[in-house]
């Protein structure tokens, strides 16, 4: 009796917590509304199953708990019931998997008009590289990293010269433009994570990984590292500023190019 009651209370408390607690996802700032929608579908289906299973257990405890003289039924198998349950479960799983795979297809298909930017992780800071007037990023290699070339940009690649390297400053992005984020690390695994964008991806030293998204509202967002990268992991923070096209252009023109940076022989000035 008491046990059944506690189980029902547990279900009520769980549902109430889900509906009433202040902890919910951050307001979205990218095109990945579909991810939130798939998550919502999953919450509904799994929530119904959870409530149903626990309530059924509570019912069994109430109805079939031991009383003097009571005896259990003897029913080893019931193929019909088992098949129905397996079929129903398969349907529920398909209802979650199908939208999941459709959205995944979108997630890994980068639009043709997406611009490319590069994010580089190292213990324990973020750096960024934006293509210059030619719209292309020059090649880079960890082996080319040195004190005056912290991202290892290949100097002999002509496409490198007009690249904009942001070392220690904020990343700026224009709102409403799809962007393909190329991810690189020069030491250990990191992960570029802005909760409001929903998308994230590990960066692997020796490889270039990517994801894409379209920022959908202006604002300033915090970048976290989401892959354990040593004792400084929690301090590895950065900032993305999403602004309208004009403000972005103005900001970009104020940044020195890679060629200017090499010529001056200085570290890049911190961006605003």
């Amino acid at each position: 009796m008491a046990v059944a009651l506690i189980l029902v209370l547990l279900v009520i408390a769980s549902v109430a917590f889900h509906l009433l607690s202040p902890w919910w996802w951050t307001p979205i700032a990218s095109n990945w509304q579909y991810i939130d929608n798939t998550t919502s579908i999953t919450f509904w289906i799994t929530g119904v199953v959870f409530v149903a299973v626990v309530c059924f257990v509570a019912y069994c405890l109430l109805r079939y708990r031991h009383r003097p003289g009571s005896r259990a039924a003897y029913e080893p198998e019931n193929r019909r019931l088992e098949m129905w349950l397996a079929g129903g479960t398969a349907l529920g799983v398909a209802a979650m998997l199908t939208p999941g795979l459709v959205v995944w297809k979108q997630f890994i298909t980068v639009p043709r008009d997406a611009s490319e930017i590069e994010v580089v992780g190292q213990q324990w800071q973020w750096s960024f590289r934006l293509p210059g007037a030619d719209g292309r990023l020059g090649r880079a290699d960890t082996r080319a990293v040195s004190a005056d070339n912290p991202l290892g940009v290949i100097k002999t690649d002509p496409a490198s010269l007009d690249d904009v390297v942001i070392n220690g400053g904020d990343l700026h992005l224009p709102v409403g433009k799809p962007v393909r984020v190329l991810l690189r690390s020069i030491d250990v695994l990191h992960d570029f994570f802005v909760p409001e964008f929903r998308a994230k991806m590990d960066m692997i030293p020796g490889s270039v990984t990517y994801f894409w998204f379209t920022p959908t509202r202006t604002g300033t967002f915090e970048i976290l590292c989401a892959e354990l990268c040593g004792v400084g992991h929690p301090q590895m923070r950065g900032t993305v500023v999403v602004e309208d096209e004009d403000a972005y252009r103005t900001w970009l023109q104020q940044q020195p190019t890679f060629a200017q940076m090499m010529a001056s022989g200085e570290q890049v000035q911190p961006a605003n």
Partner: protein
């Protein structure tokens, strides 16, 4: 089709081989210390696992103190924090759960449940335990080594695991961790071959495979999986050790560390992740399948009803075991592997939900129209169902590749795997200890302490891990020493973290109560008799309790029926032991 409920007479082959020649101990040392008796080895495995588990629990307290009250405890600096989470994770997954289910319950229950006198290779079985103990000691040595244990997280991802930004990376920590894992795997292989061969070759007459209790099916399948999965971890450890000690670069690409170009290069960090998770995902089921099997037997026995859909349960165990080898990369959706893999691994991962759901349905359908005795094993089994269903359902979020993207590496993941492979199997372990303690010791565990321990543990762990999912939904990342000032994290998150920490401290304290009960009941527990739960399986039909050396006296038991003959219509008792030929118990009450 063979009727699994087959009654008296059929399927009993004449004895073709002579009874085995057992090794008989000659002294106190060979009887209790260097013992080759599976029951003693089981107790040694279990005691060691519980002891190192207490260490892991204290570590979890320390890390929760830091998360709940950051900065209040000066001795928990970032280095220590990461060492605590690493050791906690590794101990719980490998040295507690794997060792306790397979080395502990496997050793005790397999020979007794299949009607054997002992494991088939007793000497290798003994070596298995001593290598396990050595592995534990090497692991613990990390705490005393210069630089302390490794703080790379239990996944030990290179390259950071070997670099100076990680505690123990350039010191002894990682060397000791890898050595300990290698020893564990060698030791486990000796034990594991025993469990598999004993199930396949050591069963008594009449004990067909489809008459084995689900406990044996679960442990057997998990052991086969472990024998296939641990080699992947073994080679990963050896290669990583070479990278650390011999200057190879299996996993080390070109790296600039603190402004210096490191010498080796060209290796692949993601190769390690594939090897690790090729082991790591089956490992989840290596822990889960024995729990599935045991909980099936607990529910059936204490609801006085046959397990519902036995054949489906066996096949579900086997299908889950097989499928679990083709889902590993769902741990790597955002690892930077080829994103097209996502389609395959999301599909296989969600398919595995179907046989898992069938198991849940069959547990609750066993309760339906049962005669439910709310004993402690039953309470823990019920708590397991609630916890496992909760944790299993959140797996559908993380397995569905695109939903995983925002949630991976957040506290949602931590909450999910603690529910499903931390708390749920531990609840089964507690239930199983309450269930079999009377057979192992001859005495019952204390009921009052048990009830307090049960409610605090069940509701307390739920209070810890259910709200934690929502922290992950907010975006709170895992493996953060401190959240610091983060724009999107509201102050209420810190309040919730304090609540979780307080709950964790209380749940931890309740475990001390349980440990006390284990020792106290050994001397003061109510005498149990041979079969206090009126159960059908063979281990309850031994001539002595605790079972003597050789288990069965002069003659091995003969099995006439499946293990779930509870409340059979027409039978005078509500249970018929597997070795009882007819519905009526023998008049003299002796064992066949």
């Amino acid at each position: 089709m063979v009727d699994i409920r087959a009654g008296a007479g059929d399927m009993i082959n004449p004895a073709e081989v002579e009874d085995v020649e057992l090794y008989h101990p000659h002294s106190w040392w060979t009887k209790y210390v260097f013992s080759q008796d599976a029951k003693v080895i089981a107790i040694q495995y279990a005691s060691t696992a519980i002891a190192i588990g207490v260490v892991a629990m204290v570590l979890s307290w320390l890390m929760r103190l830091q998360l709940g009250f950051p900065g209040s405890f000066s001795f928990i600096d970032p280095e220590h924090y990461y060492q605590f989470i690493t050791m906690h994770g590794m101990i719980m997954v490998i040295y507690l759960l794997t060792a306790l289910f397979l080395g502990g319950f496997g050793n005790y229950l397999i020979p007794l449940m299949v009607g054997a006198r002992d494991m088939v290779f007793p000497y290798a079985n003994m070596l298995s335990y001593w290598l396990y103990l050595l592995a534990v000691l090497v692991l613990v040595a990390g705490f005393f080594a210069p630089g302390g244990p490794t703080g790379a997280g239990w996944t030990l991802y290179p390259p950071q695991v070997l670099l100076s930004g990680t505690p123990g990376g350039r010191d002894w920590g990682i060397i000791l961790m890898l050595s300990s894992l290698i020893l564990f795997i060698v030791g486990f292989t000796m034990g594991g071959l025993n469990y598999v061969v004993t199930v396949l070759q050591g069963r008594t007459r009449g004990m067909t495979l489809m008459r084995m209790p689900l406990t044996v099916w679960g442990i057997f399948t998990a052991t086969v999986m472990a024998l296939l999965a641990f080699p992947a971890l073994f080679v990963a450890c050896v290669m990583l050790l070479f990278d650390r000690l011999l200057g190879t670069s299996f996993f080390m690409p070109a790296i600039v560390e603190m402004g210096e170009q490191l010498k080796p290069g060209g290796g692949s960090p993601i190769l390690f992740q594939h090897l690790f998770w090729f082991f790591g995902h089956p490992e989840v089921y290596i822990v889960a399948l024995p729990a599935f099997g045991i909980v099936s037997d607990l529910i059936s026995t204490h609801a006085r009803k046959n397990i519902f859909g036995y054949r489906m349960m066996v096949w579900a165990i086997l299908i889950i075991g097989a499928l679990s080898f083709v889902v590993w990369a769902h741990h790597m959706y955002v690892s930077g592997m080829n994103p097209n893999f996502g389609f395959f691994f999301a599909t296989t991962t969600l398919i595995i939900a179907v046989p898992t759901a069938i198991k849940v349905y069959n547990w609750i359908l066993t309760l339906w129209r049962g005669d439910i005795h709310l004993t402690l094993p039953m309470l823990f089994a019920l708590a397991f169902i609630v916890t496992f269903v909760n944790g299993g359902l959140t797996g559908l979020f993380l397995g569905n590749v695109v939903v995983d993207v925002p949630l991976s590496d957040t506290m949602f993941v931590v909450a999910h795997f603690h529910m499903v492979m931390g708390v749920a199997p531990l609840l089964v372990i507690f239930g199983a200890i309450h269930h079999w303690y009377p057979k192992v010791t001859g005495r019952m565990l204390d009921e009052t302490i048990g009830k307090i321990h049960f409610w605090v543990t069940f509701l307390g762990t739920y209070a810890i891990f259910f709200p934690m999912h929502y922290l992950g939904l907010v975006g709170v990342p895992r493996r953060y020493y401190e959240l610091g000032e983060t724009v999107f994290i509201p102050p209420s998150v810190h309040t919730l973290n304090e609540f979780i920490t307080v709950a964790a401290l209380i749940v931890g304290a309740a475990q001390v109560l349980f440990l006390f009960s284990l020792v106290w009941s050994l001397f003061r527990g109510r005498p149990a008799g041979g079969n206090p739960w009126r159960a059908t399986t063979l281990e309850w039909q031994t001539p002595q309790t605790p079972p003597a050396h050789g288990n069965w006296g002069r003659d091995l038991p003969i099995v006439y029926r499946w293990p779930y003959d509870y409340s059979v219509p027409g039978a005078p008792e509500d249970f018929i032991p597997q070795n009882q030929p007819s519905l009526e118990p023998p008049m003299h009450g002796a064992v066949a």
